[in-house]
């Protein structure tokens, strides 16, 4: 018996590692072990007011902070019967576009690209790909700026709230976003061209199922009340438990998810697979050019999907800011009840993020948060195991196998800190 390990797994968020157990050339198991300690956020918010909950839950993550905020807002608004004004909805779209650019730029250029180009890290790429490193930083800075303008701060902004926003951006700020987004489009195009030109190894390929929200009005988007499944089904977001069937495993502090007893994937590739035909502009052209049946099998193509999505996000911004500017600042919508249940589903950069709340007499009675990384972990392991088996059968060296497995795990852009916020401690 032999064990190959990657500990820690770098260029992912949080403390994790990959363990491959071999019996000769036969792969006994491949596990993505999550060592990050649990943070028990769902228990922490019980008894809080919905407003306090909104201040606490985004702390689960510093990069998807607005996704957590927005998922919580949607869940709480559904529970409390709040109907937010149209301008607030459009502003929420804008803040999510900013977060998408912020996160996808970092992952594509700086975390995923070095593997494909044969560099140990983005630092080593500086001599040959210095302009691309700077592109990543420019795009991330701009994504952060959009988040700052819409949410009040770059990290953990408190401007978005139940029923609307505390303050809406000025026309100058909206113009700044519109102009800068247009200016940065060549940087996103470069990302698409780079990832569109890469060789994607076939070793990890296997059919899987993809889930994403169904954005309203038949548009590509980052929030919705129902979930699209790549098998053609559509399910109300309130039925999220049936879609995710959470369970615990011994080697991980993060819960796992299966759909109809099989693994599934969420993320940019799932969004593109389910809603890609709705994308317009240059991003739509690139999607048509690059999309193939391989997207349904190869998790590494999530990197290309992220690049196309980043371009889509930038292309959406001028129109979205114009729409925000065209509307008067509304008052926040108020709750119509103090007891109720609701689910919010949004597309964090890494995939669907669910927040469900039961509110009783104006206080949180239960909270349930299911993160994209927790949904993806079984799928990551499935693809890694297949990849290891095939590469070992082809007499690949251990180091090559481990790098390939790291690339698969990184392709999902996992956020381990997010995934470990919710494990239940059981004492016998």
């Amino acid at each position: 018996m032999k064990t190959l390990e990657v500990v820690p797994l770098t260029r992912v968020e949080g403390d994790g590692g990959i363990k491959v157990t071999l019996d000769g050339k036969k792969v006994r198991s491949v596990t993505l072990d999550v060592h990050e300690g649990p943070r028990l956020i769902e228990q922490l918010v019980v008894g809080m007011t919905p407003e306090d909950d909104l201040n606490v839950v985004p702390r689960i993550c510093a990069i998807c902070t607005l996704s957590h905020k927005y998922a919580a807002i949607r869940g709480l608004e559904n529970a409390l019967g709040i109907d937010p004004p149209e301008k607030a909805q459009v502003m929420r779209d804008l803040m999510m576009l900013g977060e998408n650019v912020e996160s996808n730029s970092l992952h594509t250029f700086l975390l995923a690209l070095p593997d494909f180009l044969g560099y140990p890290s983005a630092i080593a790429m500086l001599d040959d790909y210095g302009d691309d490193v700077k592109r990543a930083l420019r795009l991330k800075k701009f994504g952060n700026r959009v988040m700052q303008i819409t949410s009040g701060r770059i990290v953990h902004g408190e401007n978005p709230g139940l029923g609307g926003f505390g303050k809406y951006p000025t026309k100058n700020q909206l113009t700044e976003i519109a102009l800068k987004s247009k200016e940065l489009i060549p940087d996103a195009v470069r990302a698409v061209e780079l990832f569109g030109s890469l060789e994607y190894p076939e070793y990890p390929e296997a059919e899987t199922t993809f889930m994403s929200v169904n954005a309203p009005a038949k548009k590509f988007g980052l929030a919705g009340d129902s979930i699209l499944i790549s098998n053609g089904k559509e399910t109300d977001a309130d039925d999220y438990k049936k879609l995710t069937s959470e369970r615990v495993v011994p080697h991980s502090f993060a819960k796992r998810s299966l759909y109809e007893d099989k693994t599934f994937a969420v993320g940019a590739n799932a969004r593109m697979i389910n809603m890609g035909k709705r994308v317009g502009g240059r991003a739509g052209d690139f999607f048509k050019e690059h999309y193939s049946e391989r997207w349904l099998r190869n998790p590494l193509l999530n990197n290309l999907a992220q690049a196309i999505e980043m371009l889509w996000a930038l292309e959406q911004m001028p129109e979205t800011t114009e729409l925000v500017a065209s509307m008067d600042d509304p008052k926040r919508a108020e709750p119509t009840r103090l007891t109720g249940s609701g689910t919010g589903a949004v597309e964090a950069p890494r995939g669907i993020l669910y927040h469900h709340y039961d509110i009783k007499d104006g206080l949180v009675e239960t909270a349930d948060i299911i993160t994209p990384t927790a949904q993806n972990l079984d799928d990551i392991e499935m693809h890694m195991k297949l990849c290891a088996e095939r590469m070992l059968a082809d007499d690949k060296k251990d180091a090559e196998v481990l790098l390939a497995l790291e690339m698969i795990a990184r392709a999902y852009d996992p956020c381990i800190s997010c995934a470990t916020h919710l494990v239940t401690l059981k004492r016998l």
Binding site: L110, L137, N144
Partner: protein, 171 residues
């Protein structure tokens, strides 16, 4: 040779001299890193936020978007030094402060949530800036816990040392 590690109780002037020794010419920029919700992990952000009141163009924290700040500083002409202030496991008693020179900053990348310090350092160096880390040994990293007294005192010492240096050099 200046002392690079300062234990609690060491004179403040010695810390200023140590930082000055790695700084080279030009203005001093401070970039505070960390997570304020995790007790001592927020030490760097606290230092930067205090200095920002007096030096708004030269002190920044994690909350200002460090990648953007690095881009801006690297675009400024002339020499200078960027000091990343962060909690770090120095295998020392809580509150110990160490000045980590650029060549000792590891190139490993553990987190995706921001660009690695080593990459930011490399970009800054290419623009003619020096880089060093002022690391503070944490005692407690628990979520929503209070900062420890030892690290609180270290934060005050670093603030005082950097404030003195920035007053002298930043005009």
């Amino acid at each position: 040779m200046h002392k690079l590690r300062h234990t609690p109780g060491d004179p403040e002037e010695a810390l200023t001299e140590s930082i000055e020794a790695v700084s080279g010419p030009g203005p001093v920029y401070v970039l505070g890193l960390g997570y304020v919700d995790k007790a001592d992990d927020g030490a760097g952000v606290l230092v930067a936020n205090t200095l920002k009141k007096t030096f708004p163009d030269h002190s920044f924290s994690e909350h200002d978007g460090v990648e953007g700040v690095v881009m801006d500083i690297s675009g400024r002409s002339g020499p200078g030094v960027v000091l990343f202030v962060d909690a770090g496991d120095l295998k020392a008693s809580p509150g110990t402060i160490e000045i980590v020179a650029r060549d000792q900053i590891k190139d490993t990348e553990i987190s995706t949530h921001r660009v690695p310090v080593a990459l930011m350092a490399a970009i800054l160096e290419r623009s003619g800036k020096r880089v060093a880390i002022v690391a503070i040994q944490p005692k407690c990293l628990e979520f929503r816990a209070d900062m420890s007294e030892e690290v609180g005192r270290a934060v005050a010492a670093v603030e005082a040392a950097l404030s003195r240096l920035m007053r002298e050099r930043n005009g």
